[in-house]
């Protein structure tokens, strides 16, 4: 009868660097006394769990079990809706304790499933490295007005990620959805299926669940790597794992060990980030998560820039979006998700490039001339500003405001009009227009008198 189970347990022999915890939660309500092929449902479950903990513990001494039972302490006519008890808390080597506890239980009471699930949350020690699993076995529906679905919303609100395996023993079809929303629900009709499902569930809970993330380039090949990725808990929204995507020795995306009981939102920290929501891993197997990250390179260059400290910045936005995606320094390369971008280059005057395409393959190269320097000096205080003459239309590109003695500004090569007026004399007619020609890497010293 248990032959199937033993085969899959061979997988368990591998050492786990982290602790695995399984909480068995059994329905001890009166209806579990119902006979199933000559034996009560409760006894079926009791025998199965007893056998399982025994054999698993022998193979894997690092495992910790816990046992919670509900509806077993008070007779159902007492309507005790808080009848739930952690009979055996988590610890290593407690299979015997679990067997002993199970032997003492007689089903008799209510079915406070939602309450009991809620209580079971605090049975798990706080340990972010552990793999936690809960297996709940029940034959009926909530009898205490608790709502497992509402409970799942409460968990989401409290930012707890919790998806128990729920094994239903002959539950009416119309009630199944009550369990679907809180966990992985398995319906079993008879004893044989019960054994099989229990086997699958336990092996899923125990086996290493692995995953690999394939970051696909524009051609659908998993060639992209070295990007940071964050696995968020879909329900609690907290970051559970941070990795940098890596190729292993064979040049394939490296294998990751992820807790299979959590539903994930995966964010690849490209520019802009790419998010893939609601990733559910199939426990006990290798999962491939593919994300399209088609990237191109934006190469910003100032050829022949003599003064490294006159480096300039480029504000990068997705086309049409007011949101700044990145501020990239010149003389650097940066990858972006391929697409169209608006570039605002903070030279003087500002250079704006709209709908610049960053395509996969060849880098998009933007070259900007090295700036020149305009030094102004005056023996008398005055006001000055710089303009570009667009066919008779003046555009102010820099306002010095008041200059007392000197002022300096970096300007892109080109022709400018400097408008200056000394304060002394207090006359508009003293306004002077000076044509300035700026050459890359050169300084213009202009005296204002």
């Amino acid at each position: 009868m248990y032959g199937l189970l033993f085969i899959s347990y061979t997988l368990l022999a591998q050492t786990h660097t982290h602790t695995t915890r399984i909480l068995f939660q059994l329905d001890g309500s009166g209806s579990m006394k119902e006979l199933w092929d000559g034996q009560s449902k409760f006894n079926r479950a009791r025998d199965l769990v007893s056998h399982l903990v025994d054999s698993i513990e022998k193979k894997n001494p690092n495992i910790e079990f816990g046992l919670r039972v509900f509806g077993h302490q008070y007779y159902y006519t007492l309507n005790n809706c808080k009848d739930s008890k952690l009979e055996v808390p988590f610890s290593k080597n407690n299979a015997d304790a679990i067997k002993t506890a199970l032997g003492k239980i007689t089903p008799q009471g209510n079915t406070p499933i939602a309450y009991s699930l809620f209580e079971s949350l605090s049975d798990f020690p706080v340990d972010s490295n552990a793999s936690n699993a809960e297996i709940l076995v029940t034959d009926g529906v909530e009898t205490c007005q608790g709502n497992p679905c509402a409970l799942s919303q409460l968990f989401a609100k409290r930012k707890v990620s919790f998806r128990p395996f729920i094994i239903g023993l002959g539950i009416a079809d119309s009630l199944k959805h009550e369990y679907d929303c809180i966990g992985n629900f398995f319906d079993v009709k008879d004893e044989k299926v019960f054994n099989h499902v229990m086997n699958v569930v336990v092996s899923q809970a125990l086996n290493n669940t692995t995953a690999q993330v394939n970051l696909l380039d524009a051609y659908g090949n998993p060639t992209v790597t070295n990007l940071e990725m964050t696995f968020y808990d879909h329900f609690s929204h907290s970051a559970k794992y941070n990795f940098i995507h890596t190729f292993n020795d064979k040049g394939n995306p490296d294998t990751l060990h992820l807790d299979p009981l959590t539903t994930y939102d995966l964010v690849i920290h490209s520019f802009p980030p790419i998010q893939k929501d609601t990733i559910q891993l199939s426990p006990g197997s290798h999962n491939v998560i593919a994300v399209d990250v088609p990237q191109g390179t934006l190469s910003l260059q100032i050829p022949n820039n003599k003064d490294a400290f006159t480096n300039i910045q480029c504000v990068v936005r997705e086309s049409g979006s007011p949101r700044i995606l990145n501020v990239q320094d010149f003389n650097t390369d940066q990858d972006y998700i391929s697409g169209n971008y608006d570039l605002e280059i903070l030279t003087l005057p500002k250079l704006e490039l709209y709908n610049e395409e960053i395509a996969p393959g060849k880098p998009t190269v933007i070259k900007v001339d090295a700036a020149g320097i305009l030094n102004l000096s005056t023996s008398q205080q005055g006001v000055a500003s710089i303009y570009v003459d667009h066919d008779g239309k003046l555009e102010k590109i820099y306002d010095f405001g008041s200059i007392k003695t000197t002022a300096t500004v970096n300007l892109q090569p080109g022709n400018y009009m400097l408008i200056w007026r000394p304060d002394k004399g207090k006359q508009s007619v003293l306004t002077e227009k000076i044509n300035i020609k700026i050459v890359s890497n050169e300084t213009v010293n202009q005296k204002l008198d």
Binding site: N242, D254, G392, L394, I419, R421, P422, G425, K426, V429
Partner: protein
């Protein structure tokens, strides 16, 4: 002919008197600077050049003397030494500024004869001392010459410096068909008047004097929030509506009298005026009424935005790199990029600031109000110094609303990086670039304190 001149002057005077009360306090000083170089004795328009000039100037001085608040003076050059002596210092003030000195001017005009060279630049330079020191006066030189500088001086630069001393030069060239290429005066002074014959000369000089006394003037008032003309020091660009090109650029100035300075704008064109504030303010379709004072009011209420980094700088380069994009509230394009520890003027209103710190700092709804300085302070960044024994990939992240946001991507090619970061808590995620194992990913929390260095060795 005489009658006609008198008639014209009469008209000039009538116009002047009509508006005299408004100009009563300001003295106008007109210095006649007369060329007495040898060529002035040449015949011109049925007479000689010098005689035409004598007659016109005598009459002008006579008429001007009757006006309140107008003083005249006379300087000549080239009358003392003959031209073959090339005396380039030959310039003298014959009649200094005074009231009622037209008789003296007349006597002097008829007591001198043209003989010498043309030291225009030097003469102009000397005129600066002819005008009494009086910052409120209008000082005008009327230069009458028939030739170009013959002493190697540069009248252009002199006239420019005179302008700065509040002296306006009105040059007249008579009896010469000067083409503009020959006469550099044209380029540098702008308005010069070429009189081909005596009749034209009389008419033009009279019109000019009339204009000096009763010109088309324009006053632009830059109004503050309360409608008072207190704003100033912005460039006013007058675009010709027809050509769509700028014709005048003047810095708005409040004079010693505390009022907006009067501009001389040609009333022939229709103008679109752009006040070069940040952002600029435009007023289109301005028609000036000739021979009157035109008042143009433009609302340019302004306040200042002062951006300040608080605390000591850990690295000057990092601090000077921090730029602030300034947007009108709700608008996408930034109207200015302002550096920190500077103050700039903006039109009053609400602005959104995007400060290019790491991570970026967003300050919304900043109010710039009339004549006030709005100070925005952010803490001076700290610095993360990362030392990498080997090439590493990864980035620096912050938690915003529980989400990790990439603030900075490590430069895999550099083994040492200095990164300016705002004070706060960060997460450094990195991994040796050539590692083959995801588990080599290191996640490290660190804190940045304003003005301090945090060193991390990977």
């Amino acid at each position: 002919m005489k009658k006609r001149i008198a008639y014209i002057i009469l008209i000039v005077l009538l116009i002047f008197f009509r508006t005299a009360p408004t100009a009563s306090a300001q003295v106008t000083r007109i210095l006649f600077l007369l060329d007495l170089s040898a060529s002035m004795s040449e015949r011109w328009s049925e007479s000689t050049k010098i005689d035409v000039a004598r007659k016109v100037l005598t009459h002008l001085a006579d008429s001007l003397n009757t006006l309140k608040n107008v003083e005249t003076g006379l300087r000549v050059f080239g009358d003392q030494s003959p031209s073959n002596m090339s005396d380039c210092n030959d310039t003298r003030l014959l009649v200094p500024f005074q009231k009622n000195n037209s008789k003296q001017i007349e006597q002097q005009l008829y007591g001198i004869e043209p003989r010498g060279v043309t030291p225009i630049a030097l003469s102009l330079q000397r005129t600066a001392g002819d005008f009494p020191h009086d910052p409120t006066a209008r000082n005008i030189i009327i230069l009458i010459t028939d030739g170009i500088e013959s002493c190697g001086g540069d009248p252009c630069s002199i006239s420019l410096s005179l302008l700065k001393e509040n002296i306006i030069l009105k040059p007249f060239i008579i009896g010469m068909s000067v083409n503009s290429e020959e006469s550099k005066m044209n380029d540098c002074i702008g308005n010069y008047y070429d009189a081909p014959d005596a009749d034209k000369f009389r008419t033009i000089i009279r019109n000019i004097v009339a204009n000096i006394l009763e010109p088309t003037t324009t006053v632009v008032n830059l109004l503050d929030q309360d409608g008072k003309p207190t704003e100033t020091d912005a460039v006013m660009t007058f675009y010709d509506d027809f050509t769509d090109s700028y014709k005048y650029n003047y810095y708005h100035t409040i004079t010693y009298r505390g009022v907006s300075d009067t501009l001389s704008i040609d009333p022939v064109s229709t103008y679109n005026l752009e006040i070069q504030t940040t952002p600029p303010v435009e007023k289109s379709n301005i028609h000036l009424v000739p021979d009157q004072n035109n008042v143009v009011n433009v609302k340019t209420p302004q306040g200042e935005l002062y951006l300040q980094l608080q605390g000591g700088a850990v690295n000057n380069y990092i601090n000077t790199k921090i730029k602030c994009l300034v947007n009108r509230i709700g608008e996408f394009t930034d109207i200015n990029v302002q550096s920190f520890n500077t103050s700039k003027k903006y039109l009053t209103g609400k602005y959104d600031l995007t400060i290019l710190t790491l991570p970026r700092t967003y300050i919304k709804n900043v109010d710039i109000s009339q004549s006030k300085t709005t100070t925005i302070q952010i803490p001076s960044p700290g610095m993360l110094n990362i030392m990498k024994p080997y090439s590493s990939v990864g980035g620096i992240f912050v938690y915003t609303n529980n989400k990790l946001e990439k603030v900075y991507e490590l430069n895999a090619d550099q083994l040492r990086e200095n990164i300016g970061l705002q004070p706060g808590n960060y997460v450094l995620i990195n991994r040796p670039k050539f590692s083959k194992k995801t588990s080599d990913t290191v996640v490290k929390n660190f804190t940045i304190v304003s003005g301090q260095v945090n060193s991390i060795k990977l």
